[in-house]
């Protein structure tokens, strides 16, 4: 009688206890985000056409190109249609192919700044990403637009605004991606000739 009850109950109690034990080394840590592509543009040469290796500087409409700027040791790239006389400028700064095959989640962030922008609806920058851009044939690639926070005329001029985290996990399983910044403005319409800068681009994965 005694043993019949005591043993199973004690056994169950002990088993319950030890089954849910955790070791001292077993604990959660905050996520670690490792960048596998980073560009801070700090090798920029002030006031020259943007020509970093692997990057594409492509004027889709008009002739305005992205330029390299350097201010107090901090490099950036800039789109500035001011005074070029062209009615519409659409220019792309497109990153090199970034291999993503090995990651099960893909995120990115960057910063942007503006100056002289008065109509951020029509004088703006957009973020587009492609997984099949070969570095030259822009028209043949498929581009997908992503939401991100860009600087607007609510921000002070040249203040770098953080984009927030952009989730690119829809590209998981692709071999590579290219990140494109599409700037839109006008060199003849003074309401649309504000400038934009892009900086501190990071593509990363969360571990």
């Amino acid at each position: 009688m005694k043993n019949k009850f005591v043993k199973p109950i004690l056994f169950v109690a002990l088993a319950l206890g030890f089954a849910s034990c955790v070791e001292d080394d077993d604990f959660a840590i905050p996520p670690i985000n490792e960048a596998f592509f980073s560009e801070n543009f700090n090798t920029a040469v002030d006031n020259t056409v943007f020509d970093f290796e692997g990057w594409t500087n492509y004027p889709e409409v008009g002739t305005e190109l992205w330029t390299e700027e350097m201010f107090d040791g901090d490099g950036t790239i800039q789109f500035n249609p001011y005074g070029n006389g062209e009615s519409t400028n659409i220019s792309w700064a497109i990153s090199p192919q970034i291999p993503v095959a090995q990651y099960n989640n893909i995120k990115m962030s960057f910063t942007s700044a503006q100056n002289f922008v008065s109509d951020p609806e029509n004088n703006r920058v957009e973020l587009w990403v492609s997984s099949d851009f070969d570095g030259t044939n822009f028209e043949e690639a498929t581009w997908t637009q992503f939401d991100a926070k860009f600087a607007t005329n609510d921000d002070d001029g040249y203040d770098m605004v953080r984009s927030g985290e952009i989730d690119l996990s829809s590209f998981v399983g692709q071999s590579h991606i290219s990140v494109g910044f599409k700037a839109i403005g006008s060199g003849s319409n003074t309401a649309l000739d504000g400038l934009y800068q892009i900086n501190d681009l990071n593509v990363y994965t969360s571990k």
Partner: protein
Amino acid sequence: MKKLVLSILIAMQVVVGFAQSGTGVTGKVVDSKTQKPMQNVVATIQNANLTQVTDVTGKFTFNNLAAGSQVMEIKTQGYKAQLLQVELTAGNILDLGVVVLEEDITEEQQLALITITENDLGDDNSGSESTSGLLQASRDAYQQAAAFNWGQARFRIRGLDNEYGTTMINGVVMNKLYDGRPQWSNWGGLNDATRNQEFTMGSHPSDYTFGGILGTQEINTRASIYRPGSRISFSGTNTNYSWRMMGTHASGMNTNGWAFVVSASRRWAQEGYFDGTDYAANSLFLSVEKKFNDKHSLNFTSIYAQNSRGKNSPNTQEVTDLLGHKYNSYWGWQGGEKRNSRDKDVEEPINILSHYWKISPRTNLNTNVAYQTGRVANSRLENPIGNNPDPTYYRKLPSYYLNYHATSGPLEGQWQPNYVEANNNLIKLFANRQIDWGSMYVANQNTATGEAAHMLTEQRNDDDQFTANSILSSQLADHISLNAGATFRKLKSHNYAVVTDLLGADYYLNVDPFFVGDEAQFDLNNPNGKVYEGGKAGYNYNLFATTWDAFTQFKFNYRVFDFYLAQTYSRSEYQREGLFRNGHYPNTSFGKGAKISYENFGFKGGLTYKMSGRSFFDLNAVYMTKAPSLRNTFANARNNNAFTPGVTDETVTAGDLSYILRAPKLKARLTAFYSKIQNTAELQFYYAENISDETDNEDSFISELLTGIDKQNIGVELGIEYQITPTIEINAAANYGQYTYTNNPNLKINDDALALSNRAITDFGPAYIKDYRVSGTPQQAYSLGIEYRSPKFWWVGVNGNYLADNYLDVSSVLRTDNFTIGPNGVSFDGASPDNVRKALQQEKFDDFYLVNLTGGKSWKIKSTTFGVFATVNNVLDQIYKSGGFEQSRKATYPDYVQDTASGTRGFGPKYFYGYGRTYFVNLYVNF
């Protein structure tokens, strides 16, 4: 004397005699010391739920028992219970002869239990404190070990905070509505007057309340139940106080139906165990009962306990290594005296009027009204426009220069230790170890306008609480009893800071110097107010709480099974009223805010299976929801009426399973326990730097709101008591527990600096604390003791204890994304999983051994008993960390790396230490 010895020795034996008629047992109970018969002693046949109370001659008789082996227990308050095994033969009344009860020495031991003050974590100085109060249970070897041997190391039964236990005086709940914890100082020092106590463990049923999952403690101060007599004692110790005097007199019930008890005590120390911790406590107790007739009695109890103590600072390892573990940065010399800048004063008298109504022989109704008022004051230095006088302020420590990193120039961010300045800081620290009160007076006399650069304030909680309750107990049928109760509580809590000493300045300007314009105003209704001594400063508000609760409980007692079922319902309503219009929150700080209410319920049940008269299985389970405490309901009570986002009812599930053996020589209990507390909250209020605001603003008072926390406590408890000979007893106890967080709760920070832009509360996302250990108690504890009790009224005991698995309280902010991930979304340089894991590994304190000695002797001269009782705790003088917390200031990985550059951390964890070797000697006279 010889006769006396003999009777004790035979107490455990059974002197067999035979009487006539029926099957049963009879005996006469006498006091071992006085040899006088004892009335009202309870004799119980364990397996049959039969109880008898001894008459005036000390006699009890059972005469309808089943033949065979029975275990009977004879017990009364203040005496060691006797377990006797009796063999009954049909048709015979077994005469046990004289049963001798010895005074319970744990009663003396309890006098030596020093309240271990919980670290005053955070700066909000919550009114009550967490101590080992519920540990004062006696009787069971495990509970005794927990109280007398492990309590000094802040051991908590089942790893649970006191808010999960219920402490009552005459059925009136003493847990504060503010934070759910009892304020032990409210009746501190009145050990003699509060020694009639009933305990339950875990969710075991109490006759007075539904209770929590830690257990209940009911202190009964009804005047007629005290043993008549007087007692005076005088004690010396070197713990938090040095001396104690206590006197108590109980009249017993006179022929007119009056009974009264008075008690008074004083405890004091110029300096307790830690440097600069002064202590002064005066306590008065009065209880008067009038019995009108057999049905009605009225009792009035009044308790007035004043307690003032100087606190001691938690210190970083750097400070302790330099200045020792008793070092306390809170005090400084003034006029030849040690003046502590952080005193805690408690003065909250309690008055309880109780009506006892014996409705029928089987039904009792106890109705109480209670009123408690008074104040809790925590003093604190404020430095509105002065430098921080704390001698251990981070800039004054060597580590500030040892870990110095260039903040600009080509070496920005590089480690640039400055050993010369570090050494200068060291020399200055040794020269200025303590607060310099004099320099504060000088600074105050040299401000441009007479405004205070420094001042001493008290942060006050002035509570008024009214409680009314009724508790019914009724034996519904032979095997069924009912307990039921209902309680109403209404609290008004006035919280404010008051200027108590301007330290020579003319006035204090009631503005926050770290802000400008309206935002700087603590009270926009009285902008730039000049505050003088006695005036309110900084914050000023009322909290209102109204709660109702009710419970019913049915207990069923049968021969083989006992079981019970209980249920409870409660409703809590909270509201804040601002008395200042705060500059950060002009629209939400002044006047009454919205009311919020919570409705909660609980169910519990349990079963005892009596395998035989001596072995039992006991199973208990409870499921309940619990309203958040008043403290956790308001996100930033000092400054506005807002409720804490995400705070809701918590859910508590618990159970335990025990095997209990109660044989005459061997008593043992083995319990496995489990509890899961879900959706609970931890709010911390502290002065922070660099958490959400950019500036080096050390006076930014922030609230850290951690909500949706799940915790799981599992473990095994073991207690064994073995009587080797009538004079030698061995006891052993063990606790193996694991108390962990089981999820990653959400963390938000409220920062006033961002309030005007409507961003006061920043969501930091999940705090990754899953599988971290809950801090605050050793999770493993073992005790082995031996006790010799001489028949000549002296006794001595020694206990060896091993305590392990006590963990540091981790900072939640350090475990959010904020720690690893920079503003660009990418982890900081070097923040690899391995490095982060190393940085965030929870510190486990070193295991330690405690050896404790106890001993006592008493003499009886005519009707007067003289006694001496002494303990030496921690004989080996082990210095050990009893608790501590990580500082939240260095809240990112690069900050952490910088702070650890030299190996001497400036912002490392702060620790509390246990007492080293301490003694307690008590001399007493009973007459």
